[in-house]
């Protein structure tokens, strides 16, 4: 049950003074005419209505009367980050080369000059330790955003993320909270080599206490970044190395997306294709071919990797009765594996065919361009899979 009400010129409640383990709720500041929704669990979030969130790939419809502005995905991330840093002085960034260098992918460009070295902190090459630092800072009231230069490097931070970040709120009996955002680029890039092509979402998905989201467009990148920063839980935001230069027109008005919602990219009737991050684009490319062949695929960008938005996914399964999962993770132990299990457990009665999951093979990503291309699911495979599924 959700209550929807207009926030007319609602003033933002000032963030509470940095008390030790502040209990106050932070409310979303809303400009005139924006909508915010109180979710059934009582948490407010500023979202655009579902219909507005659904849009064709690579084009944006702005629900505001203003035309919006165009930017690249990494700029959208930066914009979200900057807005949150303006809004709340407790928000800070730490990571390698995020300061005057502006970040390896320019997500933090200009922020050090604007907010100072203390709020945009350059760390030495010790991922476990600076993640630990972020956790300690969060426990004493800050809201750090920890950047991994590449998600793969966060493997070094696994101890702090699993044993402390995910756990200390629980083991302390709720006395200490850890509102950190851990973000960085991952996924298979262009010939970056096996060590820089990791898909960490597979490894992290089991850790209790954390949430995971993956962005795929400038619109959802900004919205998810803001939501992650405002969340009281530790959130891991997965970006993709190859998506940083995507361009899109996004609304001028402030918006925050929900961390637990999937995005309807293309409604359809014949088959539900679930995907996230870069594979969304391969799926949409395959969708064009499929439409020409007379199929009507429903494409959902799941966005929330932990927990899954089984509401949106379930509704789709009940409609189409066929599911194809397209992911970049490796077959064994990936997001697709968990998603397959979750859908089967919950919606077996609605399935007309076994769930098909297209993933990368269980191999380290090779360097050679041709080999690398074939470890990643390609549109042709997606088309074939849909054709087989719909027989």
């Amino acid at each position: 049950m959700a209550a929807i009400f207009q926030g007319i010129g609602a003033a933002a409640a000032l963030p509470s003074a940095k008390k030790f383990h502040s209990q106050s709720r932070r409310f979303v500041s809303a400009r005139k005419g924006s909508l915010f929704v109180v979710r059934s669990d009582g948490r407010p979030s500023l979202v655009l209505p579902r219909g507005a969130a659904a849009k064709a790939d690579a084009s944006a419809t702005s629900t505001a009367s203003k035309p919006g502005h165009e930017l690249l995905l990494f700029e959208a991330l930066r914009e979200g980050l900057e807005e949150e840093m303006d809004r709340d002085p407790l928000v800070c960034v730490m990571g390698e080369d995020v300061g005057h260098y502006g970040g390896s992918y320019k997500v933090t460009k200009g922020l050090a000059a604007k907010y100072g070295d203390l709020r945009v902190l350059d760390t030495p090459i010790a991922e476990n330790s600076f993640t630990g630092m972020g956790i300690g800072a969060a426990m004493t009231g800050l809201r750090p955003i920890i950047e991994g230069m590449n998600m793969g490097f966060l493997l070094l931070a696994f101890n702090q993320i699993s044993n402390n970040c995910g756990m200390l709120h629980y083991t302390s009996g709720g006395q200490f909270k850890i509102p950190v955002v851990i973000r960085g680029p991952g996924g298979v890039g262009r010939q970056l080599g096996a060590e820089h092509s990791q898909r960490l979402e597979s490894y992290f998905q089991s850790i209790p206490g954390i949430q995971m989201v993956a962005c795929s467009t400038p619109y959802n990148a900004k919205g998810l970044m803001k939501a992650a920063i405002r969340s009281e839980n530790p959130v891991i935001l997965f970006e993709h190395v190859l998506l940083y230069n995507l361009k899109e027109r996004i609304p001028d008005d402030e918006y925050v997306l929900s961390l637990e919602e999937a995005e309807m990219v293309r409604p359809g009737e014949h088959v539900t294709i679930l995907t996230y991050s870069r594979m969304r684009y391969h799926v949409m490319q395959a969708a064009k071919t499929l439409v020409n062949k007379g199929y009507d695929p429903e494409v959902i960008d799941i966005r929330s990797l932990k927990p899954f938005d089984l509401y949106t996914i379930g509704n789709s399964v009940k409609k189409t009765h066929r599911v194809l999962i397209v992911e970049e993770c490796m077959r064994t132990g990936g997001i697709g594996a968990s998603l397959t299990a979750a859908i089967t457990e919950n919606f077996i009665d609605y399935l007309d065919a076994p769930i098909v999951c297209l993933s990368s093979q269980d191999v380290p990503t090779p360097y050679a361009g041709t080999l690398e291309e074939w470890t990643v699911v390609q549109p042709a495979q997606i088309v074939t899979a849909v054709e087989q599924l719909c027989q």
């Binding site: 940095k18 030790f20 383990h21 669990d41 009582g42 948490r43 800070c92 005057h100 203390l118 709020r119 902190l121 760390t123 030495p124 010790a126 476990n128 330790s129 600076f130 993640t131 630990g132 630092m133 972020g134 956790i135 300690g136 800072a137 969060a138 426990m139 004493t140 009231g141 800050l142 750090p144 101890n159 702090q160 044993n163 402390n164 756990m167 200390l168 709120h169 629980y170 083991t171 302390s172 009996g173 709720g174 006395q175 200490f176 909270k177 209790p208 206490g209 949430q211 969340s231 009281e232 839980n233 637990e260 927990p307 089984l310």
Partner: protein, 481 residues
Amino acid sequence: MALPLGKSKRILQCLKSKICVVGLGKNSFWSGWFHHGCPSSMAPLAPTCRNPDAVLVNAATQFATRRFESTKAEKHVDSLCDAEGNQLLDFPGGKVAFTSEMRFIPESPMERAHCYRVLDDNGQPNMSNFVQVSKEVAVKMYATMLTLQVMDTIFYEAQRQGRISFYVTSIGEEAINVASAAALSIDDVIFPQYREPGVLLWRGFTLQEFANQCFGNKADYGKGRQMPIHYGSNKHNYVTVSSTVATQIPQAVGAAYSLKMDGKDACTVTYFGDGGSSTGDFHAALNFAAVMEAPVIFICRNNGWAISTPVSDQFRSDGVVVRGRGYGVRSIRVDGNDALAMYTAVHAARKMAITEHRPILIEALTYRAGHHSTSDDSSKYRPVSEIELWRMARDPVSRLRRWIESNDWWSGEAESELRSNVRKEVLDAIQVAERVEKPPIAEIFTDVYDAPPSNLCEQEKLLRETIRRYPQDYPPDVPAL
């Protein structure tokens, strides 16, 4: 392909992707080598080229150089002189004087770092420049140390009797625990390892609260989720103990950074053992605290043993104190069994940390007079005579008692009265804690997130269903509500 670099040590990276040469300063050493902008055409070497063997730039291979604003432009004169006319070179990181004598820095010093101490073995002060503690503070310190000792003994026995599953004593380290806590303020945030309950005791954690945590009952602030001795209390500014070794050290640095951003009159203090100082987290935390100028006090309880590993197998440096210099951290070695020395050192460290924004490393030498934990029997790897020596002759509690007695602040009667009172209180606390209910089933699922998500709600429902169906398989004293 290697391009001769001349006298500068700058390294060029050859990258296949198109990266333009960043605009180079007018005085740059490189301006004679490249045109500005993308070197897509062959850039012939300028006549100022110094190296006659230089290879022409290959058009297919493009170069990039990183430009750091902090580095000064290359000087054409590549060395400077100091006041005596000795040659210096301006390397990244600062000026360094040259020497013509090849001399390796020895791996160990001629003499080990001296250890600061105030009270001798008989509890008599050997010099006068220590922080004069008042009678109140001294007696409170002593009473707290004694309480810790009694509490440890009784809880250890309780574990042996099977009443709690696990316990860790701090025998021999009471002075480190209590005297350091006494020198701090309640606003200083503590990031403990697991052998520092004395800090909590000083700050007012009651024996009942300790017992509740050890029994994991519903009054435990941790809601029964952690093993015994994993205390945590936000109102006492004591972060919940996490079993992982040394992970709290970088957390303390991060928290210090947050205090610094706030301009608070407080620092963070973190404790760890000789074993913990070997971890990667220790290294990076100290390094980074120095770089960030964070107000954090690192207290290493060098008690000689990491479970069964003696310090001779742990490191070959002169203990932990010398590492401070390796990171640019001011450090001191203190007699950890001397309450007044600990008090004085921590007092000074706190002032420096807060007013000068710097980390301080204190190595407190001591001895782990008890076993590592109730799962350990240290007589297996060290002589009982050694344990007995430290427990009896070098007991920090006795040493402080001798001092307060010599000031007429304590007496035999006060001693026996305190001992029997504490003993009774601990036993009572244990009895009470044992009888308190365990936390309800709902607490398995709360605090994983700020609000329980749907999958956890479902899992809770499932669990309740299962318990309802098979009550005989579940403990009867766990409330289902």
